[in-house]
């Protein structure tokens, strides 16, 4: 090498990319297990016994597994929504209100449709209504970002409060069953539950929305990695100036990314409204939008990873109920935060270590 240091423009080999994607979540899992041990010990219980209980109550029986699947469904939608925005370099923190707006849209449509509407038709129309409602909420920060350069993080956070207050006003003031904070039951669009197919799932809320989530994940994957629009979106996410120079309209991509991020989160509303309660209830999103950020982060913004991460966080949440007799379920709230924090810290660290190792081996 007489020419001195050669600049390397080659992409990282797949092995290194796989390491970069998988090591941070595994580190986080380890850290969470250790923290979990400490919390369990602080309660004077045996970690091994509590973890066994957790697994038995989640994956060990059909009801628990069904509940995990139900919770994973909503998280998959919000996780996909966040990761879709992040692929374009935009942080959508509005999942909470987009999910709620979507559920509200689905419920309104379910109420408007006549009794006896064929399920497929009702599902489609309700999904469109949910997606539209979520998309409208997503389009506001998209427009403000593109037109005025307003930072999407702050705008989506502020919009969460505004939209949730609006929905609360609508429900409390106009559209509730007396003495409750929910709408009347929908007339059409009730989704079959897993228990209708396999009676062992009896009592769990898992429903057909699970299949919709998997289909949406596939659609997101196809769009991101096989369609031109997705290529543009990822190009903008990696390096907006370069993408602009390459002839991509960054503003238009931003519009599309945040709006569709809202659409995806909005469709997630069908899981609760069409699949579980059959009405919209104030506050049903209760943190699922924020957990979507965790799901996207742990799933490394890949649709398949997001599905796995959604399943993981759903297990934590359901697992909390399974161990509650021995250790308070609030332990899982702590572990959620620990996992996010650990992944957030491990991602740049692992990248630096791997790049450093590669830099040395290239020299």
């Amino acid at each position: 090498m007489t020419e001195g240091v050669q600049p390397t423009f080659t992409a990282a080999p797949w092995r290194e990319r796989a390491q970069e994607a998988l090591i941070p979540p595994l580190v986080a899992l380890l850290v969470a297990l250790i923290c979990g041990d400490l919390l369990i010990l602080s309660y004077g219980q045996s970690p091994a016994a509590v973890y066994r209980l957790l697994l038995e109550g989640t994956w060990g029986n059909a009801y628990g597994f069904g509940q995990v699947l139900y919770k994973a469904t909503t998280l998959a939608f919000t996780g996909l929504a966040v990761s879709f925005g992040l692929r374009a370099g935009l942080f959508n923190i509005g999942g909470e209100s987009q999910l709620a707006a979507g559920g509200f849209g689905a419920a309104l449509m379910g109420l408007a449709l006549p009794v006896g509407t064929p399920l497929i038709l009702a599902l489609l129309v309700c999904m469109i209504a949910a997606g539209l409602a979520g998309g409208v909420v997503g389009a506001v920060p998209a427009y403000l970002k593109t037109r005025f350069g307003a930072h999407e993080v702050i705008v989506t956070i502020m919009l969460n409060f505004i939209v949730l207050a609006l929905l609360n006003w609508f429900i409390a003031g106009h559209l509730h069953v007396p003495e409750t904070l929910h709408t009347p039951e929908i007339h059409a669009g009730v989704l079959p539950r897993l228990a209708d197919i396999d009676p062992r799932f009896h009592g769990s809320a898992a429903n057909l929305a699970l299949i919709v989530a998997v289909l949406v994940a596939f659609a997101v994957w196809f769009y991101l990695f096989r369609a031109r629009g997705g290529y543009e979106l990822r190009a903008v996410g990696l390096q907006p100036q370069a993408a602009e120079y390459g002839g991509i309209s960054v503003g238009r991509v931003w519009m599309r990314a945040l709006t569709f991020s809202g659409v995806i989160a909005g469709i997630g509303g069908i899981n609760y409204v069409l699949g579980y309660k059959h009405y919209y209830e104030d506050g049903f999103a209760s943190g699922a939008g924020f957990l979507g950020i965790a799901v996207a982060l742990v799933g490394r913004n890949h649709p398949l990873g997001v599905l796995v991460a959604a399943f993981f966080f759903a297990t934590l949440s359901q697992g909390g109920l399974a161990i509650h007799a021995f250790v308070p379920k609030q332990m899982m709230d702590v572990l959620q935060g620990v996992v996010i924090l650990a992944v957030a810290m491990a991602v740049p660290e692992v990248r630096r270590i791997l790049r450093g190792a590669r830099g040395r081996s290239d020299a």
Binding site: S42, I154, M331, D333, G337, I340, L341
Partner: protein
């Protein structure tokens, strides 16, 4: 409506915002995103109740509360400064962690999933409407003090330099890392005091008792364009809207939900630049490799 009672109620509502927003201004001026104020407040509120409960003295509670906020802010600082983790993600994590930790400890120490037992507080003379509480007076002066620190002291100059142009600051010998650690720690302790005031004023801790106040504070920081005095005025404005909502209750003139929206809507308008664009510190949220 009695103007004196309106004013006193407004100030009492504003105090937690004033503490948290002053903390937010310092951290953001140093370039670290402060979506964590909510978590700092919550941990401060819980630690204050814990300390007061076991010592019987609200002053011990204040110290514990400050310590609680300090611990969470140091986690935030280590993650974002040492590990260069994404500041927004860490912000979300800190807030979730604060909710989780306070819930777990509420269960562990007080065997409840909703609230702590009643603890001592400050003042209590009903004739002075809460103005015999030393924390309230501290809250009133915290913003002017922060303005002095930021604009008139060498440390403040460093904070501003580090937030606007870290490379330039580094090149003249300022340790960017150290200034940011201190700024985040100050923000954690100040925001925690907001939570401490809230908890001791209500004489107990309740699950998620900060209820979004940290986000109102961050709204005030942005609406106040990252200036301590203007942020404090924004806090007063938001508190006035809330007071109005409380005093109008029952009259149904304006639905309360619409008054709740005011801080958030104003922040969006400020960011969109309809009336005087809000421009953040240049290095805010940026991670340099």
């Amino acid at each position: 409506m009695n103007p004196i009672s309106f004013l006193t109620q407004m100030i009492r509502i504003a105090v937690p915002y004033l503490f948290a927003a002053s903390g937010g201004v310092v951290a953001e001026r140093a370039g670290i995103v402060s979506l964590t104020l909510e978590g700092f407040m919550l941990s401060g509120a819980f630690a204050a109740v814990l300390g007061t409960n076991y010592s019987g003295s609200p002053w011990v509670g204040v110290l514990c509360g400050i310590l609680g906020g300090l611990i969470f802010s140091l986690i935030h600082a280590v993650a974002t400064i040492r590990y260069r983790a994404d500041q927004v993600v860490v912000g979300v994590a800190i807030n979730l962690l604060a909710i989780g930790v306070t819930r777990f400890f509420l269960k562990l120490f007080f065997a409840s999933s909703s609230n702590s037992p009643r603890v001592a507080g400050f003042g209590g003379n009903i004739n002075v409407a809460g103005f015999d509480n030393p924390l309230l007076w501290l809250g009133i002066i915290v913003a002017p003090v922060m303005a002095f620190v930021i604009y008139k002291t060498p440390f403040g100059l460093r904070v501003r330099a580090v937030g606007e142009h870290p490379d330039a600051a580094e090149s003249v010998g300022v340790s960017v890392t150290r200034v940011r650690y201190v700024a985040v720690a100050i923000s954690g302790m100040l925001a925690a005091l907001g939570g401490v005031y809230l908890a001791l004023d209500q004489h107990q801790f309740t699950d998620q008792m900060t209820a979004g106040r940290g986000f109102i504070a961050i709204s005030a920081v942005i609406f106040g364009r990252w200036d301590p005095i203007r942020a404090a005025l924004a806090c007063l404005l938001f508190a006035a809207a809330e007071t109005l909502q409380i005093q109008l209750q029952g009259s149904h003139a304006i639905p309360s939900q619409f008054i709740e929206m005011i801080p958030y809507a104003l922040t969006i308008i400020a960011l969109a630049g309809v009336v005087g664009r809000a421009v953040p510190p240049a290095a805010l949220g940026k991670v340099e490799d």
